[in-house]
Symmetry: C2
Subunit: 465 residues, 2 copies
């Protein structure tokens, strides 16, 4: 690190700008503030900045070209005299595998982006951005905007069979934010937590980050195996479960298992975190009520998200908290986070209240049913597997068994985007039965493109083994 | 709580709707989905919903009135047969004092809302909302959008003398989000943390929530008393400090104290969280470089926020993390929160990159200097106190000593909004010298209204004692 600024003022300005160029922070060709603006910004005389700029220009760091303004010299290399330890020292080695740079069509776990009602939504955004009242610019209610909490409570009552007041809802930053809050507030550090295997990988990461010990439980056609959990760790503090459609297997937790799970939680004094990320998207029969609707003793924390019903970049979700834990979770929202952005909350609240949300979900349910059928048919034909193997009651993904086997492809990092966004199941679970299965998102493949997409995927997989 | 739904389908629908009305969740007069929509929503036959609605109407819970649709009966009381334990049981007693319902003009610690460049900002919002690309709808980079981190790094280099790469920045939910992250990740539970007294009250609350022991340190004209900290708890794990303009006293941490603080942190292996919430707003002399610019050994976590430079409802801030802690904080961002909303980040990144931000800050610095001078003059005249007592080098608030004394008014909760948003200092500190001082925000009082506002405040305080 450079020594603290010292010496005459022009020298300090020179040091700052030069340091930023050398560090690579001001890129070649980048625009600098004019000397006048910089002088005001720094509270120094114009002449002081002029002098600093003159030296920098003389040394070839910057160019001042009349009305084109002042720029970092476009052809400046990294001066040989000054290595750039900052950048060079880090090669990104401490980063987890990164996401694909561009969006890929078979990405699992995301809603349709092409069918999103951009117009209705952006009109609401525009109106709220323009009217921007002092109340909406000020510090928000950390628990969530009252309007949004009311809209969510009304929605949950009708759509998910959950009775709660707006007071019992905390608006969060999607399921990941909810999980962070729950992991922190339940004090699970050092304790055991049941998780589904295979399951959503970030759940295990987040639990480990919070110091808890994840206990992976097998999943079958009735959902997670509760008896296996009781056998393995009856003293667990928490169970994280997706009862509607388990990710990624798609199974629905049976009523018998639901009762067994709640009974265990009652007996053990444990909590259940219901991850209802896609309960809305069921294509056969009626949407099932949430597990939470059976919770008589305040054992279930219910987590919903707008990531699948709207879009993930929104970062909004909601947590229904049993009354006994409310005070603690409200304080957590207040002191750990401070609340979600007002504009986003206002837009989503109105999107719900005006009925756009209900209509959107209904349209998506139909569209997903149809897109799934088309892609299943195309994949069944191209990969020569029975379509029944890919069916399920709901969700946003399907499981594609590859007869030919995946071979070394099973280990290709998802972030490389080799499979158009689809994910080898081997990266979610060590179960041998899943070694040659791909997890495929179908929500962003229009029916007309299904055959072509199946063909491309076949080429990539079977051609690339 | 009502028993789980059971019996025939129409009965389940009846139970759900009736339950929601009885719980007060569906208000008298509230609109219900049409039978057709409800049937689709629930995946049942239209006739099933018709039957449920007919019974509900027959019992007086709802009214179906042709094209006006189906509504909860407007005159419905709470049925005597069914008390409403949910609502009645909670009187809000577990809530902390709430904020004023409407925005008040003398609220401390907020930027000007009337001078915000709504037009430029809402144009950016509109454009981003309309163009909504799949990449911006998908899961964001949990560390923060690369564009925003680049813009912040460039800004910090020029405006605050901080050299860091975009890689070293985490985008957070404002200072509160930053504090939650830092408190959690530094593992301060059970340890001591130095805080300023008086100081921003939520810092102490957040630290206590994280299980740490706040050690209050006195503040004088040179800022926080570092020697007092060393005497009281040299083994503290963290010091939270606002070096630019201490809140609420306004003092700037002297260079000697800065060096002393960094030296202690080095020796003790402690960290310093620099809360640079309003370093931009200095009205005398040059803005001082951040404490972070003196940090040679990676002891300072630098926290900036857009709450004062833009507005708090945005919930965006940034944290510069020393390289040794980066991996841990990146994981925390990933597993505790999942990233901030994409739209907000894109808008703010462009607001910075296009130069709106720099211009806005410069305009606000001038406007605040002028508004402060006008309000100081008006208060000095009306309260008959020397204006020098209210001056300071920067910040968004001023301290008004009330000669007549505050008496019992000192305890009136701020949330009641009795003082037009101003806050009795007695609620921030027990120091006797502050017992009769008010903390007054000046950013939302146009020069022309200063005299009238001073008059109103005088009436409320001196008339209300």
């Amino acid at each position: 690190m450079a020594p603290p600024p010292c010496g005459p003022l022009y020298r300090q300005i020179y040091d700052r700008v030069r340091g930023s160029i050398v560090d690579g922070q001001l890129a070649p060709g980048a625009r600098l503030p004019s000397a006048r603006v910089m002088a005001q910004e720094m509270g120094v005389a114009r002449g002081t900045v002029d002098m600093a700029y003159a030296i920098l220009a003389g040394e070839g760091y910057i160019e001042t070209a009349g009305r084109a303004g002042t720029r970092v010299a476009p052809d400046i290399g990294q001066p040989a005299s000054q290595p750039i330890p900052h950048r060079a020292a880090r090669g990104g080695s401490d980063r987890a595998p990164s996401l694909p740079l561009t969006f890929l069509p078979l990405t699992p776990g995301v809603p349709s982006f092409d069918l999103f009602p951009r117009k209705a939504w952006s009109q609401l955004v525009r109106r709220h951005a323009q009217s921007l009242s002092p109340a909406s610019m000020a510090y928000p209610d950390a628990q969530g905007s009252p309007q949004l909490r009311e809209a969510v409570a009304a929605y949950l009552a009708v759509a998910r069979g959950i009775r709660c007041t707006p007071d019992e809802i905390i608006i969060t930053g999607g399921f990941q934010g909810t999980l962070g809050l729950v992991a922190h507030e339940l004090g699970i550090g050092g304790g055991s937590v049941w998780v589904e295997d295979p399951g959503y990988p970030r759940i295990v990461s987040a639990l480990k980050h919070a110091g808890a010990r994840p206990i992976p439980l097998p999943v079958d056609g009735d959902g997670v195996d509760v008896a296996a959990g009781i056998a393995a760790a009856s003293d667990a503090l928490l169970c994280v479960v997706a009862p509607a459609h388990q990710f990624p297997m798609g199974a629905t937790l049976s009523l018998a298992r639901r009762m067994q799970l709640l009974e265990w939680a009652d007996t053990a004094g444990a909590m259940v975190l219901e991850d209802d990320f896609d309960g809305e998207f069921r294509y056969q029969g009626r949407p099932l009520p949430a597990l939470k609707s059976l919770d008589c003793n305040g054992r279930v924390l219910y987590a919903g998200t707008f990531s699948k019903t709207l879009f993930p970049g929104m970062r909004l979700g909601y947590l229904v908290v049993p009354p006994a834990l409310l005070a603690r979770f409200r304080n957590a929202a207040r002191y750990m986070e401070g609340g979600r952005p007002m504009l986003d909350q206002a837009v989503v609240a109105e999107f719900l209240a005006q009925g756009h949300f209900g209509r959107h979900i209904k349209r998506m349910r139909n569209a997903y049913r149809s897109r799934r059928a088309a892609l299943v048919e195309a994949l069944a034909a191209r990969f020569a597997v029975p379509s029944e193997l890919m069916s399920g009651a709901g969700g946003l993904n399907l499981l594609l068994p590859v007869k030919e086997g995946l071979g070394r492809l099973a280990a290709v990092p998802w972030g490389e985007g080799r499979f158009l966004g689809a994910l080898p199941m081997a990266q979610l679970t060590g179960q041998p039965a899943m070694a040659d299965t791909m997890l495929v998102g179908f929500t962003n493949v229009p029916e007309k493109q299904a055959a072509a997409m199946a063909g491309r995927l076949y080429e990539v997989i079977v051609g690339g083994r």
